[in-house]
């Protein structure tokens, strides 16, 4: 979005984040979301455009698609007048919905010129799942009232967080997570463009670390760039190596069934100091499942416990206690 970066006073050039720099600028650049792209291309040719709802895991290109579409739709001269971009970090309570969005929708369109294919205004609402229920309810009236002149593009991660009336007014498009090869490809292009060569393995690790989220991978690359340029082998290993959790977990699997309680307590203490938090419990459980260590009956029980522990930790409880709880129960079920 053009107002994304604050321009520095003259001397230094704008330093963009790589996510912005390499964001796809046209619909063709968007990888792997064919349905959406086809539909949008059709709209560019003058066919009608419904309200849209883009949802899916983070880092799959939802915001980029919306922006690219708008950029292709409106020439830059009328871009500002026709497109409004509201985000979770802006004020988005009910009052803002009513005032700002209404005000924007109400202003009449400028004179049409030949390039103006679609006589509509577009409002992009990013991260809609963070809006309160009341604000969403207010929004649905606004969507209805102004659908003659304005189209809404809603972007969110979880459709379940939106109220049904809002969802039913839009055409839903699910953005699939990008497959591994596509991601690695993109990462390599970026790396080469920025002059930080990386090996295939390292790229794969970055990608795994980001768990399918392309934006996260690019961010990681950018953040690590200074270290990678100046640092040595050990630095690369330190940051790019898979987390130490894997080692801990495999150790754990071997020793758990036979340890007694005091051992487990001290083990928990040491894990708490070095583990990455709640993800540890999840990964541990995953590993146990993969190794088939838990019998069928207990999978449900353990699954439930993992969910409960995670909820508790995310609410702010002590990691050690919950980890202890998890490990002790695990030990009993394995036996």
């Amino acid at each position: 979005m053009s107002e994304a970066m604050e321009v520095d006073s003259g001397k230094k050039q704008k330093v963009l984040t790589w996510t912005e720099k390499y964001r796809p600028k046209t619909l063709d650049d968007i990888a792997h979301q064919e349905e959406v792209v086809t539909m949008l291309k059709g709209a560019l040719q003058g066919k009608d455009l419904p309200h849209l709802l883009f949802y899916g895991p983070p880092g799959t290109g939802k915001t980029s698609t919306a922006l690219a579409f708008c950029r292709q739709l409106f020439p830059s001269s009328i871009f500002r007048d026709r497109v409004l971009d509201l985000n979770a970090s802006d004020e988005r309570g009910i009052s803002v919905v009513r005032q700002k969005i209404q005000a924007f929708s109400k202003t009449t369109l400028g004179s049409s010129n030949k390039e103006d294919v679609l006589r509509l205004k577009i409002i992009i609402l990013d991260e809609v799942d963070a809006m309160t229920r009341e604000a969403q309810a207010a929004m649905r009236r606004v969507i209805e009232d102004f659908s003659k002149t304005t189209r809404f593009i809603l972007i969110c991660n979880y459709v379940s967080r939106l109220i049904p009336p809002v969802v039913s007014r839009c055409a839903k498009f699910r953005f699939k997570s990008l497959p591994a090869e596509v991601q690695v490809q993109r990462l390599r292009t970026i790396c080469d463009a920025e002059g930080t060569p990386m090996s295939e393995d390292e790229l794969k690790q970055v990608m795994e670390y980001s768990e399918g989220d392309l934006r996260r991978a690019v961010c990681t690359l950018q953040s690590l760039a200074p270290i990678l340029k100046n640092g040595d082998e050990s630095a690369r290993n330190c940051y790019l190596r898979g987390s130490s959790d894997a080692l801990l977990i495999s150790d754990l699997c071997k020793t758990l069934p036979s340890s007694d309680v005091p051992q487990i307590i001290s083990l928990t203490k040491s894990i708490t100091k070095s583990c990455t938090g709640v993800a540890f419990i999840r990964r541990c459980f995953q590993q146990m499942l993969d190794d088939n260590l838990i019998n069928d009956e207990n999978i449900a029980v353990m699954g439930k416990l993992v969910a409960v522990c995670e909820k508790r930790i995310l609410d702010g409880c002590d990691l050690e206690n919950n980890l202890l709880d998890f490990l002790l129960t695990l030990r009993e079920t394995i036996r």
């Binding site: 983070p58 985000n87 953040s223 760039a225 340029k229 630095a235 007694d260 909820k311 508790r312």
Partner: protein, 354 residues
Amino acid sequence: MALWVDKYRPKELLGKDGVDYHLEQAKHLKFLSADCMPHLLFCGPSGAGKKTRIKCLLRELYGVGVDKTQLIMKAFTTPSNRKLEIQTVSSNYHVEMTPSDVGIYDRVVVQDLVKEMAQTSQIEASSQKSFKVVVLCEADSLTRDAQHGLRRTMEKYANNCKIVLCCESLSRIIEPLQSRCIIINVPAPTDVEVEKVLRKVIQKENLNMPDSVLQRIVEKSEGNLRRAILMTEAIKMENEGGIPANAQIPVPEWEVYIQETARLILQKQTNDMALKVRERLYEVLSRLIPPHVIFKKLLEYLLPSCPSSIVREVVSEAAKFEHRLLLGQKPIFHLEAFVIAFMEIYLTNASKPK
């Protein structure tokens, strides 16, 4: 009169007055500050040295001007016209604050602060960095709202304002925020490292400390360097003449009190005892000890005396009640509920035929 913790705090990343452990990491931090600096997220247990490193990094970036700090009460107005005040520590180049002080309004405060920092540019743009730094402490108590708001703000003002977050555990930081920062994991120092630092301090203070006492301090601090240094200072205060080999490490009084309470619980498990325990818990609560700390300590003192068969049940109950404690309004309910649950479990176990 400065505490030793502040007197002997390292003032730079590497070099004579540099940090004493995690040296590789310090080197990397130096690289980051030289080049285009990203947003940072420092995480690690308490007393491991996160704040120290942040300070050193700031000095690396801006020089000694960073040390001239002032305590300013900044005022903010929420959209619902409510006035808030929050205390910030700021210098010409950076601002440090704890957003959780304002509770649920932290989003407004954080965003306003970042915008303000981003808009006021540096005076001499040539010799200095083009950005300012905002340090947010206790980032894991930021509300979800605040974190979501922060992620876009971080992108928008990335050029003028770098954000450094400081938290104890990554679990409560949302993923998008994690992906926008570099995560600097500052693990707790090992016992050897703690000992090394303590020896340095002792030497500088010309203190005579027998090894046994030192060892005990190292053990008791459990990787929390701040606690270790404070304990050392406290021991010195207690034993003005000289430190005997069997000097006791002063434990905070409330800890002893809780230990006593735990002993009482293990001794007798009846309603009357529960009442007495309740009185004692009130006493500790009135000293402003946070309830979850009481909980943890209580559990710590109870567990060793539990027979193995009931440990799991006790821990599971503890986790359950701690969770409720965090979300509820009246901590004493949950504390007492846990105590009674423990009593019953213990009692039924004790009366089971072996």
